[in-house]
C-alpha cells in the first residue's frame, strides 16, 4: 500500500458500492454564541476564560437565565454541546452568592458522577473559592461521608444511592435538605420504563423530605433528543418544566450512509451478517489511520468485532490500535482508552451504548452503527460521536436483517424525517408505587390526606396498616416494622421477587452474575435454556424455584433458545375501547388491565444467523400469573371462515411478529419490555385478538401508548410486509409461519383493506 487514503478517497470509492442504499449529506451548522450574561460573577467569568471559554452558546445562556429566574428547566442537548455548563453555571453562581445553598446532582452511573466531579473540581479550582463538591456513592470512604453530609455544597450521586442511603437517613443530611436549591438530573432519557418509574417515585420521596425541611429546590434536567422531553421531565419530577430546545452548538458537515448487506441466500431472503459488513467498512478507515468508532448492541458483538478488526489489521506495519469500550471497565482502564482516543493513539474503538452517555472521549471522524440501535435517540447520540474539528464526518448505518432495519433501509425518507420516540414511565404503577410508599413512610409518617405524586395515598396506607407494615395513630401512618424497606427494592431490576443467576462454570468460584424477575426467569432460565448475559452464552443447568436461583454455565453454541408459552390472557378491566375506522370488518381495539397466566411448555433451539429451528425440549415449570396493562386489537371472527383457519392463524402470528418489531418505533423500549401474543379466540370477546402487554407487573406505560398509536402501528406493519420481496415469509417481515405464502397474502389484504 502506497501512502494513505483520505476520507474523501474512501468516500469516493463507496459512492459506487451497490450496497449503499442511501447517501445523505447533512450540512454543517455554525455556532450561535452570545457574550456572558452580566449576572455572572467576575471570578466565574475569568475562570471560564482561563479555560478557553470566552462566550456561551445560546442554549447555555438561555439555561442560565431560565434557572436564575427560578424555573424548573429541562434542556435537550445533543452529544458534545457543552451541556454541563448549562447546570454548572447557575449552580456555581448561586453558591458564590449564597454559600449556604446546596445542590444535589444525580447521574445514572457512578462513572459519570466521577467524571463530572473531576470537571467541576477543575473549574472550582480555577475560580479559587472553597466550594465543596463531592461524589457520594458506594465508593465514598466512610471517613469523609460525615463531612460530605454536613458541609458538601454540591453532592453528586446516583438514584440508587439516594434511594437506599440518603433518603432513609435524611436526619443525617439536615443541612443539605434545609438548604437544597438545585436538583440536577443528567441524562434524563435514561430514566425510562421500570427504572424510570422507580426513579420518579424516589423523586416523590425526595420532594416530601425537602418539604419537611422547608426547602423547595429547582430541578434542572438534561436529556438526549427524545420526542417528549418536557412531559417526560414533568412525569419524572412532578413539576411544570421550562423547555430549552434551541441548541447553539456548532456541528460539521455529515455524510450519512445506509448500507444494506448483500443477500446471500435468495430462497430464504437471508442477508450477510451485519458484523461482516461492519468489519469490512471499518477496517478501510482504520487501515488509513482515520479514527473510527463502531457501535454494537451487545458485549459479545463488541468483542467479536474487535477481534475481527484486529485480525484484519494485523498485517499492517504500523499496527493500528483497536480496542473495546464497554460498561464494567475500571476507571483506570476507561481513562487510558479515553486518553488514547483523544491523543490519536487509538484509531478504532468498538463500543456498546456505554459511550452514548456523556463520557468525554473527544470526537472521532467516522461512526459505524451495527444495526439500527432500536430508537432514534440512541441513533443520533451515537452518530453525534462523529464530527471533529473542521473535517467532514461520516456516519454509516449497517442494517441488520430484522424487519425494522430492513424497513428503515427501504424507507429512507421516513427514516430521516422520524422524530425520536417518546420515553414512557408509569410512576403510578401500583406495584412500584406501593414499595416506595413504604420507603417514604419509613422516612416520614404520612398524614391523613397527604399526597404522594398526584393522588392521596390513604387507601394504600390503610392497606399497609392491615399488612402490619404501618401503624395508624392520630391522623398519621407510622412505619412500624423492624425491616428497612429500601433494602428490598432495587431500582434497576424488575419485580422484587427476583431470581439470582449464578455462574457455576468454575465450581470453586460460583458467582452471581445477575438477577431476573420470576416471569423472566421462567421464560428464559428454564433448564437447558441458553441464556445470554451481556453477550456471553450460558447453559442453564438448574432452576431452583424455591431458593430463587438459576445455575448457569458458560458455553459456546451457535443457537439460542426461545420458549413457547401457553399464555392465557384474561381482561380484568377495560379502560379504553374503540371501534377502528372500519365498520365492515368490525376491527376493534382496547386497553386495560389483564391477568396473564403463562405456562412454559416447550422451547426451541434456533440457529443464530438463519433463525432455523434446530431442535426442541420440554419445560417443566408451574404456571405463573401476572397482572399488567395491555393493548389489544380484535378482528371479526368471520375472517377465519373467509381465509381458512390455518391461513388466518398464520397471518395473525405474522402480524404479531411485525408488531413486536414495529412497536419500538412509537415508544422507546427494548423488545423485551413488551410481549405480543396472538389469540385465535380471546376469552373476553371470543374474537381473534392480538395482545401487546407490558412485561412488568402493573405496567410501565408502554401498552397505553401502543393503544393510541395502533392505527399508525398497523400502517407501519402493512408497509413492512408490502415492501419485503420474499414470497412466503422471512425474518424481515412476518417470520416463518405455517402456510407462509397464503398467510402473507392474507395479511397483506387484511392490512390493506383495513
Amino acid at each position: 500500500m502506497i501512502g494513505h487514503k483520505t476520507v474523501d478517497n474512501i468516500l469516493k470509492e463507496l459512492k459506487t458500492d451497490p450496497n449503499i442504499v442511501h447517501w445523505r449529506t447533512i450540512p454543517e451548522k455554525a455556532a450561535h454564541d452570545v457574550p456572558f450574561p452580566h449576572a455572572i460573577d467576575d471570578r466565574l467569568k475569568k475562570a471560564l476564560m482561563r479555560r478557553g471559554i470566552s462566550s456561551l452558546y445560546t442554549h447555555q445562556a438561555d439555561a442560565f437565565q431560565a434557572v436564575m429566574a427560578g424555573n424548573d428547566v429541562v434542556l435537550v442537548t445533543p452529544t458534545a454541546s457543552g451541556k454541563t455548563l448549562c447546570y454548572n453555571l447557575p449552580v456555581l453562581e448561586t453558591l458564590i452568592e449564597q454559600p449556604e445553598k446546596r445542590a444535589l446532582y444525580f447521574f445514572p452511573t457512578k462513572a459519570l458522577a466521577q467524571d463530572q466531579k473531576n470537571e467541576m473540581v477543575e473549574l472550582i479550582d480555577e475560580i479559587g473559592l472553597p466550594i465543596k463538591s463531592h461524589t457520594y456513592d458506594g465508593d465514598t470512604a466512610g471517613s469523609v461521608r460525615q463531612t460530605i453530609r454536613q458541609s458538601g455544597q454540591i453532592v453528586m450521586t446516583n438514584p440508587d444511592m439516594l434511594h437506599s442511603s440518603i433518603l432513609p437517613h435524611h436526619t443525617k443530611w439536615v443541612s443539605l435538605f434545609e438548604n437544597l436549591q438545585f436538583i440536577v438530573i443528567d441524562e434524563l432519557h435514561t430514566y425510562r420504563g421500570v427504572f424510570g418509574s422507580h426513579v420518579a417515585n424516589v423523586i416523590r420521596r425526595l420532594k416530601r423530605i425537602c418539604r419537611y425541611y422547608g426547602s423547595h429546590p429547582q430541578f434542572i434536567c438534561t436529556s438526549a433528543t427524545i420526542a417528549n422531553p418536557r412531559t417526560h421531565a414533568e412525569a419524572l419530577t412532578g413539576r411544570k418544566m421550562h423547555l430549552i430546545e434551541r441548541n447553539g452548538a456548532p456541528s460539521v458537515r455529515k455524510h450519512f450512509l445506509i448500507y444494506n448487506p448483500p443477500v446471500i441466500n435468495r430462497q430464504l431472503n437471508i442477508r450477510e451478517d451485519e458484523s461482516h459488513s461492519v468489519t469490512r467498512l471499518a477496517s478501510q478507515f482504520i487501515r488509513n489511520k482515520i479514527q473510527t468508532i463502531v457501535f454494537a448492541k451487545s458485549r459479545l458483538r463488541v468483542e467479536l468485532l474487535v477481534s475481527h478488526l484486529q485480525k484484519v489489521n494485523s498485517g499492517l506495519q504500523t499496527h493500528a490500535s483497536i480496542c473495546a469500550y464497554r460498561g464494567g471497565y475500571l476507571p483506570l482502564e476507561r481513562r487510558s482508552i479515553e486518553k488514547g482516543l483523544r491523543s490519536g493513539e487509538i484509531v478504532g474503538v468498538v463500543s456498546t451504548n456505554a459511550l452514548e452517555l456523556g463520557v468525554d472521549i473527544g470526537q472521532l471522524q467516522v461512526c459505524i452503527l451495527t444495526g439500527y440501535p432500536g430508537n432514534m435517540a440512541s441513533l443520533w447520540q451515537q452518530a453525534g460521536r462523529a464530527g471533529r474539528r473542521q473535517e467532514d464526518a461520516v456516519v454509516i448505518l449497517v442494517a441488520s436483517s430484522n424487519p425494522l432495519d430492513q424497513y428503515m433501509a427501504g424507507h429512507v425518507d421516513y427514516f430521516f424525517s422520524r422524530r425520536p420516540e417518546e420515553v414512557r414511565i408509569n410512576a403510578d404503577n401500583i406495584m412500584i408505587m406501593m414499595e416506595h410508599v413504604k420507603c417514604s413512610a419509613y422516612e416520614l409518617p404520612f398524614k391523613n390526606g397527604e399526597k404522594f405524586g398526584e393522588e392521596t395515598v390513604d387507601d394504600l396506607c390503610d392497606y399497609l396498616a392491615e399488612e402490619d407494615v404501618l401503624h395508624y395513630q392520630r391522623g398519621k401512618w407510622y412505619w412500624m416494622n423492624d425491616g428497612f424497606p429500601a433494602n428490598n427494592i432495587s431500582l434497576r431490576s424488575a419485580a422484587q421477587d427476583s431470581f439470582a443467576i449464578i455462574d457455576v462454570t468454575d465450581r470453586g468460584h460460583a458467582k452471581v452474575i445477575g438477577e431476573m424477575d420470576r416471569f423472566g426467569a421462567m421464560t428464559m432460565l428454564y433448564e437447558d435454556a441458553i441464556y445470554i448475559h451481556q453477550g456471553v452464552q450460558y447453559h442453564v443447568d438448574d432452576l431452583d424455584l424455591e431458593e430463587r436461583k438459576a445455575y448457569v454455565r458458560k458455553v459456546n453454541v451457535n443457537y439460542y433458545t426461545d420458549s413457547d408459552l401457553a399464555v392465557q390472557l384474561d381482561v380484568l378491566a377495560t379502560d379504553k375501547h374503540a371501534e377502528c375506522d372500519d365498520p365492515v370488518r368490525h376491527t376493534e381495539k382496547g386497553y386495560g388491565d389483564v391477568a396473564v397466566r403463562a405456562l412454559p411448555t416447550v422451547f426451541k433451539k434456533i440457529r443464530f444467523e438463519t433463525y432455523e429451528n434446530i431442535g426442541w425440549g420440554k419445560i417443566n415449570l408451574p404456571e405463573l400469573e401476572m397482572h399488567t396493562n395491555a393493548a389489544w386489537i380484535s378482528f371479526d371472527p368471520e375472517l377465519m371462515n373467509i381465509y381458512g383457519k390455518d391461513t388466518f392463524q398464520g397471518a395473525l402470528v405474522g402480524l404479531s411478529h411485525l408488531l413486536r418489531h414495529a412497536a419500538p418505533l412509537y415508544v422507546q423500549c427494548d423488545q423485551s419490555d413488551l410481549s405480543v401474543v396472538p389469540k385465535i379466540k380471546a376469552p373476553h370477546n371470543e374474537k381473534p385478538t392480538i395482545f401487546v402487554y407490558d412485561k412488568y407487573p402493573g405496567g410501565i406505560g408502554l401498552s397505553d401508548r401502543i393503544y393510541s398509536e395502533l392505527p399508525n402501528l398497523l400502517d407501519k406493519a402493512r408497509e413492512m410486509v408490502e415492501s419485503c420481496s420474499c414470497t412466503s415469509g422471512c425474518p424481515s417481515c412476518i417470520g416463518f409461519v405455517n402456510e407462509g405464502k397464503a398467510a402473507k397474502l392474507t395479511l397483506r389484504r387484511l392490512l390493506r383493506e383495513r
Binding site: 436526619t171 413512610a441 395515598v457 412500624m480 428490598n488
Partner: protein
C-alpha cells in the same frame, strides 16, 4: 383508573410482594380499629399494671416507671454499693483512661439503655423504651420511659430530656454507635417541641469489653458477658430481638403483659451495666487481679492512650515471668524502648523473643532488622534477619495466611535495599583499599 380501584385489582399480587419482604416472626392478623379514647383507656389500664405514671404533654403522654433499687442488691458478683468505691478509686488513678470517672461524683454517672423497633439505623426505626439509672446513697434510681405509640414521641423525649439535664456521663453498651445516633435521629422529628439535645459524652462498655475479652467470647454481647464473665444467669428473660414484635402487638392491643417482659429485660440490662462498669474499673485499676491476657490487653490499651509509663511497668511485669504472653509483651516493650531511644535494650528483647512460642517470629525478625539497619547501620545482620523473616514466611502454611502477599513484598523490598546498601558499602570499602594500596 383510580389508585383505589388499582389497589382492589392488585391486592393479591401486592400481598405476595409484601410477603417476600416480611419478617419471619408471624404476627396476629386479626386487627380492629380502636378509637383514640378506648386506646387511651387501655393504655391507662396497662400503665397501672406496670406501675407506671402517665405523663402528659398537651395531648400526648409517656409512661414513666420509677423504682429505687436497694444499694445492697447484688448484680452478678457485686452489690450496687460497690460502685462508689470504684469511682473513688478512679480519683487517684489516671484521668486519661476512657473509663476514668476522675473528677466525677458517683451520682453523676448515668447508666443508659434503649429498646428500638428494629436494628436498622434509618429514620424509620423508633426508640420505644429508654432505661436510665443513677446511683445515690439511698439506692439506685431507675427511670424507664415507655412510648405508648408513635404519635407520642414529643412527650416521650420532652420528659426524658427534662429529667436528665446532662448527658455528659452516660454509661452504655455500644451507645455511641447504636443508642445515641437513634436518639439523635428521632429527636430530629420532634426538635421543635422538645428541649435541645445536650452534649453527649460517654463510657462505652462494649469497647472496653471488646478490648479485654474479644478472644475468649464468641461474640462480645451483653448477654454473653453476663454469663461468661460475670457468671450471671437470667431466668424468664424476653430475648431482645423479640422486643419489636411484642411492641407492635402492644400498639394494636395495649396489654401490659406484652411489654412487661421487655421492661424487665431493659431494667436488667441497665443494672448489668453498673455491675460491668465496677468489674471493668476494678480490672483496669488492678483492684482485682486481671489474668494474663487481661493484663496484656490493659497494658496495650494504656500504651495506646499515651499512658506510657504505666504500660511500660505492665509490659515489664509480663516480660519477667514466663507465660504465654511473654513474647508478645517483649515485642511491645521493645517497640516502646525503641521509641525512647533505648536501642540496645530493644534489640536484646527482640533477640530473646525469637524463642518465645507466642509470637509471629517473622515480625520479630523484621523489627530487629529495622533496628539494625536504621539505628546500628549493621546491614549484614539486618540482611540476615530479613532472610530469616522470609524463610519463616515460606515455612508451613504461612503462605495461606492473610496478608502474606503484602508481607512478602515488604520483606523482599527490604532485602533488596539492604543488598544494595551492602554492595555500595563494599564498593566504597574496595575503593578505599585500592586507594590505600596505590599509595606507596
Amino acid at each position: 383508573m383510580s389508585l383505589t380501584k388499582k389497589l382492589q385489582l392488585y391486592r393479591k399480587q401486592l400481598h405476595e410482594q409484601n410477603q417476600l419482604t416480611r419478617p419471619e416472626v408471624s404476627q396476629s392478623t386479626a386487627s380492629f380499629e380502636m378509637s383514640e379514647s378506648r386506646q387511651n383507656e387501655a393504655i391507662a389500664a396497662a400503665a397501672q399494671l406496670l406501675n407506671a405514671k402517665m405523663n402528659w404533654l398537651d395531648d400526648q403522654y409517656v409512661l414513666v416507671y420509677s423504682e429505687i433499687i436497694p444499694i445492697q442488691k447484688k448484680v452478678g458478683p457485686y452489690t450496687l454499693a460497690e460502685l462508689d468505691p470504684a469511682v473513688s478509686a478512679w480519683q487517684s488513678f489516671s484521668p486519661r483512661h476512657p473509663l476514668s470517672a476522675c473528677g466525677l461524683q458517683t451520682e453523676e454517672l448515668l447508666f443508659f439503655d434503649t429498646e428500638t423497633t428494629g436494628l436498622g439505623s434509618g429514620a424509620g426505626q423508633m426508640i420505644f423504651l429508654i432505661g436510665l439509672a443513677h446511683w445515690t446513697r439511698q439506692g439506685v434510681v431507675l427511670n424507664q420511659y415507655f412510648l405508648p405509640g408513635p404519635g407520642h414521641e414529643a412527650a416521650f423525649y420532652h420528659k426524658f430530656l427534662n429529667d436528665t439535664k446532662s448527658l455528659k456521663n452516660l454509661v452504655t453498651f455500644n451507645g455511641k454507635a447504636f443508642d445515641w445516633p437513634r436518639v439523635k435521629t428521632r429527636h430530629q422529628f420532634v426538635r421543635n417541641q422538645v428541649p435541645r439535645l445536650p452534649a453527649f459524652g460517654h463510657f462505652d462498655l462494649l469497647h472496653a469489653s471488646r478490648r479485654l475479652w474479644k478472644n475468649r467470647l464468641e461474640a462480645v454481647r451483653l448477654q454473653t458477658i453476663e454469663s461468661d464473665i460475670l457468671s450471671m444467669e437470667r431466668t424468664h428473660d424476653v430475648p431482645g430481638k423479640m422486643a419489636p414484635f411484642l411492641y407492635f402487638r402492644f400498639l394494636k392491643h395495649p396489654d401490659a403483659g406484652l411489654v412487661k417482659g421487655i421492661m424487665e429485660h431493659n431494667r436488667d440490662d441497665v443494672l448489668t451495666l453498673i455491675s460491668l462498669y465496677i468489674h471493668l474499673s476494678n480490672k483496669i485499676m488492678g483492684r482485682i487481679g486481671p489474668d494474663l491476657e487481661e493484663k496484656f490487653e490493659i497494658a496495650r490499651w494504656n500504651d495506646q492512650i499515651g499512658e506510657t509509663d504505666r504500660a511500660q511497668r505492665q509490659w515489664e511485669a509480663l516480660v519477667h515471668q514466663p507465660s504465654s504472653f511473654r513474647g508478645r509483651a517483649k515485642l511491645r516493650l521493645a517497640q516502646l524502648y525503641k521509641k525512647q531511644g533505648a536501642y540496645s535494650a530493644s534489640l536484646n528483647l527482640l533477640q530473646s523473643a525469637i524463642r518465645d512460642p507466642d509470637v509471629d517470629v517473622g515480625s520479630i525478625y523484621i523489627e530487629a532488622a529495622k533496628l539494625l539497619e536504621h539505628q546500628f547501620k549493621d546491614y549484614r545482620r539486618a540482611q540476615y534477619y530479613t532472610k530469616e523473616a522470609l524463610n519463616y514466611l515460606y515455612q508451613g502454611d504461612h503462605r495461606l495466611t492473610e496478608g502474606f502477599q503484602s508481607k512478602e513484598a515488604d520483606y523482599l523490598k527490604r532485602l533488596q535495599r539492604l543488598n544494595g546498601r551492602i554492595g555500595e558499602h563494599d564498593r566504597i570499602k574496595r575503593n578505599i583499599t585500592r586507594a590505600s594500596a596505590k599509595t606507596p
